[in-house]
């Protein structure tokens, strides 16, 4: 038997792959062979470790030393020093190490200490391409337990009691959604996993799938068992090559192991999953548009009611759940509703996976308990603002979320608190911006996105997004008047209530919050000045009413 004394876990998530993690892995393999260590050290490809900005990343066990920004030139030193002589390569380490042998354990280091990994529990620890490693880490236990011990109604009750709410953006209670679908008439029902992650700044679902695809499949199986579906579909973005590959591979493995297919684990429950590809349309993240797209049509949202729980895919009762929502289910079944409710706040249970982007030192993927403050996330886990600049604003929930200013840094990140300030948890995107940016220029960028992505079906969204963009464009050129700001306000209020789906209803949110919290900066533009010096004011008009 081969005796392994060390494991090197290398992140093979898409961000690290783009930074060259695969060539690092091959170089490491070659170096281990050269030094005669190949028999005693195993290299494992894992999912995302979280520090995407500092990739490619790797962790050497049993010591638990994390190296980041590893280059090909560093490989001989890591092998010679760490793996042969047992001395850490300090210049590549992320965690503090005082003295020769005192090492801060990885989970106690600044990036990890405030994190709580439920959805990401296996991410960066197991090989996502191996069903055996998933099972060894306790995978498919919850499915076996549920099929053996719980009726579908009991599973729904546990999820209801856990207070889990949808993690895709809308935050609808998952247990209730399942209950509606279960109780809807008809024997043919569908479960859809929404992996059409299009909210700008969000890449959590991609990394969850890439890092632990079986967790998503197990969550789907539990959901299907609860609602009474025997067919599942994962709708994934056409651009997500690695996610598609890992999902298809995981589905194949699960079928071979009898964890998908007929009479799973000897029970009456049969379930199988197909992968369906998107073709580039943000609106398809909306559940009825997504259903239209699976049916091969234009991805235009349907008029509701009926909701998908009554009449979804092909007119049959359907539950559409986000990747992260489903990835929570196995842990809830395993540890119980009470355990889940003990994480987070009284009304927002559990954890939330966030993607940190923009002007922040540790851009990447994190999972934290609900209720943590924006300050803790940005300044502690995120490592603060780089380049000696100042924090200006954060946009939570993606481009359809609100902009928060410095005075909001101590707002707890949960469903209720953020909505008080006109923002939302949304998809978990957190875009951090420093003081070099102009609020008007950013608002224009947000609106350009909505103009492009409005599906055009209903008038308030199609015309409203374009008009909002035109007015903000005018402001950015110094050609607007005070009355234009009133017009934005009025148009936004109309848009919040009248479009058919959330795309149009949320499009004004970033504008309203930005103009509310950065009013003086916006009004300076009416006088032909851009305080940040970003907007081109050459054609500015002098306005008397500003």
């Amino acid at each position: 038997m081969r005796f392994i004394r060390s494991h090197i876990l290398i992140c093979s998530g898409s961000n690290c792959q783009l930074r060259g993690s695969l060539s690092i892995m091959h170089a490491l393999e070659a170096e281990l062979i050269k030094k005669g260590l190949y028999q005693e050290i195993r290299i494992v490809e894992t999912g995302c470790l979280g520090l995407c900005e500092k990739g490619p990343g790797m962790v050497v066990y049993p010591e638990g030393v994390m190296y980041t920004r590893v280059t090909l030139a560093d490989i001989p030193e890591i092998v010679e020093e760490h793996l042969l002589k047992g001395r850490f390569v300090r210049r590549l380490m992320t965690q503090p190490a005082d003295g020769e042998d005192k090492l801060t354990p990885l989970n106690m280091s600044p990036f990890f200490i405030k994190q709580k990994r439920v959805v990401l529990k296996n991410c960066g620890l197991i090989n996502p391409e191996s069903i055996e490693e998933y099972i060894a880490a306790g995978g498919y236990q919850s499915l076996a337990m549920a099929l053996d011990q719980y009726s579908p109604d009991q599973v729904i009750q546990i999820v209801k009691d856990s207070n889990l709410r949808g993690r895709g953006g809308a935050g609808f209670p998952t247990g209730r959604k399942w209950d509606f679908t279960r109780r809807a008439e008809g024997t043919e029902k569908y479960l859809i996993c929404n992996a059409d992650e299009g909210e700008p700044g969000t890449f959590k679902d991609r990394l969850i799938i890439e890092g632990d695809p079986h967790l998503v499949l197990e969550g789907m199986s539990l959901a299907a068992y609860a609602i009474g579906a025997d067919k599942g579909i994962i709708y994934v973005r056409g651009e997500y090559d690695l996610s598609i590959k890992r999902l298809e591979q995981a589905i194949r493995q699960a079928r071979e192991s009898g964890l998908l297919g007929r009479n799973i684990l000897g029970s009456e429950f049969s379930f199988d999953i197909d992968v369906c590809l998107g073709a580039g349309a943000y609106v398809c993240g909306e559940e009825t548009a997504l259903i239209e797209s699976i049916e091969g049509k234009r991805g235009e949202p349907r008029l509701k009611p009926p909701y998908p729980a009554q009449a979804g895919l092909w007119g049959k009762p359907t539950s559409v759940n986000n990747v992260e929502t489903l990835a929570n289910i196995p842990s809830i079944i395993e540890h119980g509703a009470e355990w889940f409710r003990s994480i987070g706040t009284a009304t927002s249970s559990g954890t939330k996976v966030f993607t940190l982007t923009g002007n922040v030192v540790n851009a990447g993927l994190i999972e934290v308990p609900m209720g943590i403050t924006l300050r803790e996330v940005i300044m502690e886990i995120g490592g603060g603002i780089p380049g000696g600049r100042q924090f200006k604003m954060a946009q939570t929930g993606g481009t359809s979320g609100g902009c928060l200013a410095e005075e909001h840094l101590d707002v707890p990140m949960d469903y209720e608190s953020l909505s008080q300030y006109g923002s939302s948890l949304g998809s978990g995107a957190l875009l951090i911006m420093d003081d070099s940016h102009c609020i008007v220029d950013l608002t224009k960028c947000f609106l350009r996105f909505f103009v492009h992505e409005s599906c055009g079906q209903c008038t308030p969204c199609r015309e409203g997004t374009a008009q909002l963009y035109n007015i903000v464009d005018k402001i950015s050129k110094g050609r607007a008047a005070g009355s234009d700001i009133d017009l934005i306000e009025k148009l936004s209020r109309t848009m919040q209530i009248s479009p058919l789906c959330a795309l149009g209803q949320t499009a004004p949110i970033p504008v309203l919050s930005a103009f509310q919290y950065f009013g003086p900066e916006v009004r300076a533009h009416l006088r032909g000045t851009c305080p940040a010096g970003i907007c081109n004011m050459k054609g500015a008009l002098a306005n008397a009413d500003s």
Binding site: N15, G201, F203, D274, A279, G364, L431
Partner: protein
């Protein structure tokens, strides 16, 4: 394999029409869907031509006009914007001698903009065909493009 056979297998699959359109576009040689492709898909899927046309024109990954051998899609969403995607776009326009939406004279590249590509950890980013390129700087572009020419 002929186009008809290539797409026939998708008829009974969920989202089959979109998979078929992806396949037809890949086989076109010019990264687009011709009126003949639309007719063919309508026939194979037993759908009105207008509804296939409607589907094809809805999604940004499909083009109804011929494109270059390689399609460049630069992310213009906010996370890339705040770390300088506009400089990337203007540098690409300069380097290729085309504006967004146009194809280079030699038929090699079409330049497009895209909404978030979901790799914000390596922003600013772009996709060329199925490949993502991240951490772009105006200086790094020429070398990346040379790999496709």
């Amino acid at each position: 394999m002929g186009k008809r056979e290539a797409i026939a297998a998708f008829v009974d699959q969920p989202g089959g029409l979109i998979k078929a359109l992806h396949r037809l576009q890949d086989q076109s040689g010019h990264n687009f869907l011709s009126p003949q492709d639309i007719e063919l898909a309508a026939e194979v899927f037993d759908l009105p031509t207008a509804s296939v046309w409607g589907t094809a024109t809805f999604y940004s990954l499909f083009s109804m006009t011929p494109r270059g051998r390689h399609v460049i899609r630069v992310c213009e969403s906010a996370p890339c914007h705040v770390v300088g995607s506009l400089n990337i776009l203007s540098e690409l326009e300069k380097h290729l001698g085309v504006q967004v939406g146009e194809t280079t004279k030699d038929g090699c590249f079409t330049l497009e903009v895209a909404s978030c590509l979901g790799v914000c950890g390596v922003a600013p980013a772009m996709m060329i065909d199925e490949n993502i390129h991240g951490n772009l700087t105006p200086q790094s572009l020429a070398k990346i493009l040379a790999g496709y020419a």
